[in-house]
Subunit: 366 residues, 2 copies
Amino acid sequence: MVAILVQPMPTEPTPLIASDDHLAHDGLIEVVAGREVPCYESPQRATAIRDALLGTGDYALDAPRDHGPDPITAVHELELLDLIEHAWTDAMAAGRDPDRPLLPDTFLLHGYAGSMALTQLPARRHDRLGAYCFDTGTPIVAGTATAARAAVDIALTAADRVLAGAPLAYGLCRPPGHHAGRTLIGGYCYFNNAAIVAQSLVDRGAQRVAILDVDFHHGNGTQQLFWERGDVLYVSLHGDPAGIYPYYSGFATERGAGPGEGVTRNLPLAPGTDGDGYLAALAEGLDAVRAFDPDAPLVISLGFDTYHADPIGNLALQTDDYGRMGSAIAGLGTSVIALQEGGYAVEALGANAVAFLGALAGSSSS
Amino acid sequence: MVAILVQPMPTEPTPLIASDDHLAHDGLIEVVAGREVPCYESPQRATAIRDALLGTGDYALDAPRDHGPDPITAVHELELLDLIEHAWTDAMAAGRDPDRPLLPDTFLLHGYAGSMALTQLPARRHDRLGAYCFDTGTPIVAGTATAARAAVDIALTAADRVLAGAPLAYGLCRPPGHHAGRTLIGGYCYFNNAAIVAQSLVDRGAQRVAILDVDFHHGNGTQQLFWERGDVLYVSLHGDPAGIYPYYSGFATERGAGPGEGVTRNLPLAPGTDGDGYLAALAEGLDAVRAFDPDAPLVISLGFDTYHADPIGNLALQTDDYGRMGSAIAGLGTSVIALQEGGYAVEALGANAVAFLGALAGSSSS
C-alpha cells in the first residue's frame, strides 16, 4: 500500500506545549534482566523533538498552565501522588546515595499475598516503591515529581488549546504516561498524561472519548484505568506482548469488561512489522474509533519506538511511515490532542515527529 | 538473662542430610536497589556449615532420598515447578547469554491488573519470570532446578529420619525456601522446603504441626501457604519488615484468617536486637508452640542471618546466642527437623550451626 502524502501548510501554527521542567528528571540508569544500562528515556529525547518541530516554523511554542493535583487524583490514587512526590526525600533522609536513582528491588507481586490480608506498608516511601512500581526501569530522582507534574500540565494545556479551537495541539510530555495505572508506575511512566486528559474531557462533558495509542508498547496503565468504562475507548497498536514489555497485557483477547466490554481494542503486531503492515492495523484501529463516534477530540498516545532503529523496539517503520500514519488519522476529520509517549532512537525522533504531526496538521487543516 | 548451657554429648550422631547437588546452583549476582552485587547466597555457605558440623564428630552425613515432585506440588502450583525446571532452557533457546543468571525486570504487581482480566502469560518462561518472582535477588541458572529439587529431598529425608526415631535431624538445604509461596519465588528461595515438610507431616497423619522460623527475614511464603490453615502453626522471629526485606509482610498484626486465625504469630525485632532481646522473643514464640500442642516433630526454619556480622541483617546475635536458642528450643522436649534457610556471614556459619545444633541435640538427648 502506497499512500500519496498531501501536506498543505497549516493555516495557523500548531500549538507545541513544552517546558524545560522535564530536565529535572534524568533517570540515568535502568536495569534490564539484571544488568545496569544507561536509561533509554533521556532528556535529549524531548529536546530533539522540540528543536526539530520549531525548526519547521509550523509550531508555536507555549508553556503549560498549572492545573493542580486534582486532575491527577481523578485518575490515580492519592497514595501514588504521595509516593512520587516524597520517595526521594524519604530516601535522602535515610542516607541513600544522592547520586543514584531509586529503583525498587522487592515487588508486591500479585501472588505475594495469596489469601493473606496484608496490613501495612513500610513507613519510608522508598522502602515501599516495589508496591507501586512494576519494573526496574522507572528510576526516581530528585526532580522526578517536578517533571511528572509538568508533563501532566503540558497534556492538559494541550487539551485546553484544542477545546479552545485548535484542530491539533501537541503536548511534548516527558516523562511519558501510558504504563501508569491507578496505583501503578512503570515503563518510565509516573502519571498517565493521556488518561488524565481523557478523564478531564469526560469531566468537561464529553460522553465518548477515544484514546489511540501508537506507542510501540502496550499502554497497560491506560487500559487498566478505563477497562470497565464505556465512555472511554482505548485502541492500542503495539509489539506483541508475548515476548515484549510489558508482557502481561495487550493481547488481542483483552477487550474490556462490564460497561467497557468491547471498548478496549488491542492490535498486537509481529516483530518486524513494516509500514504497510502497520498502516493496515492502524486502519482497523481507526475503524474502531469511527464506530465509537467520539464527541471529543481524539487523544493520541504518540510513541516513535515503532521506528526500525529504535533500540528497544522490534518493528520496522521508516520516517515516511509516520507521515502516512498522520494522514490516516487526519482522515477521521476530528481535532486531535497528541501527547508524547516513548521513542528512543534520539537521532530520528525529530524527523519522525515532524513527519507525523506535519501530516496530521496539514490534512486536519485542509 | 544468662543461661547456663548444658551440653552433654548426644548418645547417637545427629543425621546431617546434605548433597553436593547444591553446587549446581550458583546465582553469581543479585541486584540491590538497582545495583549489581555478588550474590550473598553462595555455595560456600553450605560447604562451611557441612565441614564445621562434620568436624565435631557428632553428625552422621547422609544423602537425600528422591521423593519425586508430588510433595512439591502439594504446596506449590504445578506452573511454578514448570517455571523453575524450564526457564533456563527457554532462555538459552532464545539466545540469552549463558554466563548471566536470569533475573526478572518486569513484575506482575498486585496493582497491575486492577479490574482487568489478564488472559495469558508470555509463551517463553523467562519472559514471565516476573509473574512469579518478587525480587531481583533470586537468580536462575542452569543448575537451579537440580539444586532446588535436592533441597526439597534433603528436607524430606531429614523428616523421614526424625519420624524413624531420631530426636533431631538437620537438613542442609540450599537454596533455602521460606520466601517461596504457592506461585511465588523470591529471596533466594524456589521451593519452600519447610512448608513441604510440614505438609508432608500432615499428609502422614499429623493434626497439628508447628513451624518455628528463626531466620532473620520474615518467611512470607510459609505464612502465605498456611495463612488459613488451623493445622499448621507458623511462628516467626525476624527483623521488623517496616524497613527490612521482604517489606510487605511479617508485621505483628498478621495473625492468620479463618480456621488459621491466631495460628500465625509474627514477632518482629528492632534493629540491633541482641541475644537477650532475641531470647525473650523466642520464649514468647515457644510459648505459642507449647500452647498449640503439636503432635508432630517441630519444623525449624533455621537462619543465621541474625548474626551481628551478617552482611544483610541488622540484629546483634553472637555465636553463643545460638547455643542459648538451641537450649531454649530443646526445652520443648520435642523432636526437631531443622532445615537451613539463610545466613550470609560465611566465616561464622559453621560455628553458629555447631552452637545451635549442638545445644539442641545435647539437650534433646539429656
